[in-house]
Structure formats: C-alpha cells, structure tokens
C-alpha cells in the first residue's frame, strides 16, 4: 500500500498522538499557524495559555503531577525566548518536557528575519537536548527521539525547532516503532559488588539515616524507600524535591533537611554514621559548608546521573543506577534491624525543636497558619504547587506530605511565577485531586494572567496568595544579613527606598487589589484578614467547584525558621 503524503505539520500532530500526548499547552504565532491549522482534528486537547512562560510552566506542572512528559507549542522569536525560564526550571529539577517551537523558513534563517531567534542555540544551556528539523521527513523520528531523551536517564526538557517551510513540506515518513540513538545509552545497572557493599554498610550501621530526593519520586521508588526504612528501622529525611517520597506521619520521618529543614533532620544527618542518599544531588541549599556536612558518616550515594556523584559531596560508595532497581536488590539483602536508641534520640530532638512559630501580633494571621489551614481543609490529600520564596518554605515545612507527586515546586531554579501556571498544568493532569497553589504576592503578580486559563476550563484550582506586601525571602535576608536595609523588596507603595522616588502621598497600602484582579479574571475571590475565619474560608474555597483565589493578609515581618545561613553548618542553625 502506498503511504500517504501529508504536510509536515500534520505529520507532527500524528507523531504527538503516537507519542501518547493527551494535553498540549501553548500559544500561537506566525511560524506555527500551519501546526495550529491541524489541531482541530488532533486526538489530544490544546490548552491556550496567556504567555509562553505560563504555557511552559503548565507543561512542567502537568509532568510533575503525572510523571508523563509535558508538551508545549510556541512560535518563533519572542514566543520561543519566553519559554527559556520554563525550560531552565524543568531542566534543573529533571522534569520531562518536549517543547516545539516554530522557526522562520530555512531560506530565511540567519537573515535577521521577522521573529527569528536562534532557538537551538539560545536554549542549549537550559535543555537536555535540542533539535533543528531541516526536512518534513525527519519530523516523526525526531519527535520519537525527543520523547525518548526527555524520559530516559535523568529526565529533562527537549526542544524541537521546526522551520515554517518544513511544516508545509510534504512527507510520507512514519513514526518509528522503536527509537535507537547511537550515542545515548543512559540506563546503567549497579554492579553486584556495589549492591553487596551497600547492604553491608546498612547492616553494620548503628545510626543510619536515609536521605531521599526527587530521584526517588522520578523512579517511582517511594514504596521501596518505605520498605527499607521499615525493615532496618531507619529514619528518613528528604530534600525539598523529595517531599512526599516518605509519609511524614510516620514516626521515622524527619521531614525536610537543609537550609530551612527541620532541626531533627539536620541534627540526625550531622550525627549519623551511614547516610543513604537516594536520588539526590546534594544541593548547596542542603549541604551548606561541605567540610562539615555529615562529618561522621559513610555516605552511600545512589543516583541516575553519573555527573552528580562526587560533584558536591564525595561519596564513600557512589552507585550510578536507578534507585528502584538498587533498592529492589538491596532490600532483599539487608537484615531486619532495630535502632532503638538512635530512634529514641531522634524522637527527643523532634520534641525539643518541633516545627512551631510564634503569633507575632494578636489578630494578625501568621503565614504558617495558612499552610496548616490548607492541610486541614484538604485532609492532607491535595496537590500543593508552590511559588518560590518564604511561601515555598512554609509549604514545605507545615504541610504533612504523604504522597509522591503532590508537592510541586521549583527547587533548583527557584522560579518565581511558577506556582499559578504549574498548578493549572497539574490540575489538567490530575482532575481527580484538589490542587492548591501556594503563592506569595510577588510571584503571583508575575504570572497572574494564567488564572484565566483555569477559569475558562472550569478548573477547581484554589490559588492561595499569602500577602505580606513584600518579597519576604529577600526581605528576610536583608533583615538578617544586610542591616535591615530593605532595598527593592517592599511591594507596598509605603516604606520604599528613597532611590525609588515613589511619591509619599500615594493612597494605597496594597497594590494591586488581588481580589479585584481575581474577579477581573473571572475567578471567585476571598480576602481573609481575621485568623478566626481562615479555616472556614479555606475549606469553602478548596471544596468549591469554582476557580478560587484566596488572598490572605498575613504578618509582614514573619521569617522562615529554622535557618542555616548559606554556606554555614548545623551548629549555626538559627531558630528565630
């Protein structure tokens, strides 16, 4: 049978269907009109964002919530460059994504044509890989390869840049049944000797700690971590990205470790004799001063990425392999054990320094209470999507995380503006769950336009804006380390730096009016000022079938504690 000729644009849509795409996020433009022309008959849904950065974060949030690659389509030039922050965010956190960007026609490339940008060049440093497609015949195979690369090895974003004339060219090329890449073979198996050594170290440990990261979630190994912890009675600390990989209601849970981690987690890592690091990259936000990190421990480091082993912390035993594969074997080789004294000591630490906060002014809501209210109202089952800064740390600290893929946060890149669009992407991926975005007033203003997308699709997302009228984390650092000189970090028209030349007679305390903004976007808006009303409003908003924005006016001077200042060690931990 003669294979049918069709346009490159049609071949692309067919290939995306074959790749299993269910939702495509994006924004149109001149060099992708041909692709948009084919979308009406596509088997997947198209979701129109309001800014390409938003569309990229939606694809990212979808991928984090489901484990499936997020897919995004944008035009050339500014459309493509607007996604760079989204790509970098996904790249740092190992999130599988495929981004298709239009490009000017091949004959126009290099001529400074209208809306021309060298996307494959620009995105190089913030993607796992990129393709510039030069003929329609390459499209099906390139799409297959892009999805393979995005999801194999350490996941990451892949860009496919497709010139306009290539989209119009005819081809009969078919989607390949199998992908073969000559040079890329990321699957690595641990050696038997390494696994035996790991089991031996665990068996001999007196004060072991498991330290679980995002790699555990990516590998789907949360259950295996729980088995390991239970079998040998090992306390578990997580990274920010690892939240949800271990049930925080378990007595063995230490919560999050690192700069704003729990005292118990940081003390335990400081004192442990074997640190079992699973799917982590030892971020500087976790280790602080390298020389003083886990000084008594033999460190076992299991990670899929060979470049992350011995990068920041030198491991006693580095194993480059899939966490799930490793634990499947190791769990069968370790002995059932008890570490009664060690676990009791940790329990004492948890009692001594629990996660608590003072009420600074009576009648003023503390931001931590907002997270507790969300936890209560959602019964701890919601997908929490954070923005970046203080709101992110409080969400990490005060929500009782107990499911993988239900705490979505820009950990590595720390991208403000991530929360709102990523929550929308997550809700498209998980329509069965409550999705709650936790944002500050700063980050919310960066991508607020995307709220429209939730409203027009009738998504029951709850966008919580913790409004302290300032950029809280910057303000906190300025208070602690820069003599309380609040340069650039105050969002209220009052109390700004002289240099900003804001007229003193401005009659506003809060700008914008978040509730009016929410209503202008079609969302139901709540403003909470009274602490007594917080729980009820939160419950109503989360239970509601409507898209809700809940603005909570909070204590503006609240800080995130505990805190280990950057580059310092456990002994420098500050409790506020």
């Amino acid at each position: 049978m003669k294979r049918q000729m069709r346009k490159g644009a049609k071949a692309l849509v067919e290939s995306l269907e074959k790749a299993g795409v269910e939702v495509l996020f994006g924004y149109p433009g001149g060099t992708v009109i041909d692709i948009f022309n084919e979308l009406d008959t596509a088997k997947f849904q198209f979701v129109l964002g309001r800014h390409e950065q938003g569309s990229a974060h939606m694809a990212d949030g979808y991928a984090r919530a489901t484990g499936k690659p997020g897919v995004c389509l944008v035009t050339s030039g500014p459309g493509a460059t607007n996604t760079i922050t989204g790509l970098a965010t996904a790249n740092m956190d190992g999130v599988p994504m495929v981004l298709i960007s239009g490009q000017v026609s091949l004959s126009a490339i290099g001529t400074d044509a209208f809306q021309e940008a060298d996307m494959s060049g620009i995105c190089r440093a913030v993607t796992k890989h990129s393709f510039l497609v030069k003929s329609a015949a390459e499209i099906p195979e390139t799409v297959a390869q892009a999805f393979y690369i995005a999801t194999h090895g350490k996941p990451g974003p892949v860009v496919i840049d497709i010139p306009k004339n290539v989209q119009q060219e005819l081809t009969d090329a078919q989607y390949p049944e199998r992908v073969s890449l000559r040079a890329y073979h990321p699957e690595q198996a641990a050696r038997t000797s390494e696994l035996n050594k790991m089991a031996k170290l665990i068996n001999e440990a007196k004060k072991p700690v498991i330290y679980a990261g995002g790699g555990v979630i990516a590998a789907g190994a949360a259950k295996d971590v729980a088995s390991l912890a239970a079998k040998a009675e090992i306390p578990v600390a997580t990274t920010l990205m690892g939240l949800g990989s271990f049930d925080e209601k378990s007595p063995l849970s230490l919560g999050m470790s690192g700069m704003h981690g729990s005292a118990a987690a940081n003390w335990a890592i400081n004192e442990c004799d074997v640190l079992i690091a699973l799917g982590v990259r030892f971020s500087d936000r976790v280790i602080g001063e390298v020389a003083k990190y886990a000084p008594n421990a033999k460190i076992i480091h299991v990670d899929l990425d060979p470049a992350s082993i011995d990068k920041n912390v030198v491991a006693h035993l580095g194993i480059c392999a899939d966490v799930k594969d490793v634990l499947t074997t190791v769990n069968s080789r370790i002995k059932r054990a008890e570490h009664k004294e060690w676990v009791e000591k940790i329990a004492t630490w948890k009692k001594e320094q629990p996660m608590t906060f003072p009420i600074m002014h009576k009648g003023v809501i503390m931001p931590q209470q907002v997270i507790e209210a969300i936890d209560k109202a959602s019964n701890g089952d919601a997908v929490i999507v954070t923005d970046v800064g203080q709101n992110q740390m409080w969400a990490a600290q005060y929500f009782r995380h107990n499911h993988a893929r239900r705490f979505l946060s820009s950990g590595g890149m720390g991208t403000m503006g991530f929360g709102i669009p990523a929550a929308i992407g997550a809700q498209f991926g998980r329509p069965d769950l409550d999705v709650v975005a936790v944002c500050g007033d700063g980050g919310a203003q960066m991508t607020f336009e995307e709220v429209i997308v939730a409203v027009e699709h009738k998504l029951p997302v709850t966008f919580v804006v913790i409004n302290n009228n300032c950029l809280g984390m910057v303000r906190q650092w300025q208070e602690l380390f820069y003599n309380a000189k609040y340069s650039g970090s105050i969002l209220s028209p009052k109390g700004r730096g002289k240099n900003e030349k804001i007229p003193e007679d401005l009659d506003y305390d809060y700008l914008p009016d978040i509730c009016k903004l929410a209503e202008a976007h079609g969302a139901k808006a709540y403003r909470v000022i009274d602490p007594k009303k917080l729980d009820a409003v939160m419950k109503e908003a989360i239970d509601s079938e409507k898209t809700c924005v809940v603005e909570v006016i909070v204590e503006p001077r609240a800080n995130v504690y505990p805190m280990i200042p950057a580059g310092k060690s456990v002994s420098d931990m500050v409790f506020g």
């Binding site: 190089r124 440093a125 796992k128 990129s130 690369i149 000559r182 990425d305 470049a307 011995d310 990068k311």
Partner: protein, 81 residues
C-alpha cells in the same frame, strides 16, 4: 589543586550543533579553551574533537562526566598535556 592543561579527546556524532554544545558546556562554566581541533574519523559519521582546557583535575573530571551525558557524545577521555 593546580590548574593544568588537559586535552579532552571527544568522539561525537558528526551532526550540526554538537560542537556548540560541547564548547558551550565548557565555556559556560568560565573555562577558557586553549586549543581546539575538530576533524572526521575514518567513520565519516563520527567526529573527533580535541579540546585543550586549563583547569584542575577535579573540574576536568566533572566536565568529562557532563560531556558524556550529552546525547550525541560517544566517548570522552582526557590526558594531562
């Protein structure tokens, strides 16, 4: 650790953009490339890049691992010059 000149011998797929990815990964970390040679191997689909960088052993090891992670890279080895 002292900085010394290391030669990275890279065997990569002969495709557009690969050189830029390799060089960009090194220069993006602030390391200066002292010398660069790219040519075909007997297998025309594979290129051989010789990249000389001034760096410490630790940094070179890290760069090698990151270069090997690239999709079009077949093998990277190094030797002190």
């Amino acid at each position: 650790m002292n900085e010394e000149i290391y030669r990275l011998n890279c065997y990569v797929e002969n495709k557009p953009g690969v050189l830029a990815r390799m060089v960009g990964l090194i220069s993006g970390r602030g390391y200066n490339i002292q010398a660069l040679h790219v040519g075909p191997t007997e297998d025309g689909t594979v290129s051989h890049m010789k990249i000389d960088v001034l760096a410490t052993q630790k940094v070179v090891n890290q760069i090698i691992l990151q270069l090997r992670n690239q999709v079009n890279v077949i093998e990277v080895t190094s030797r002190k010059m």
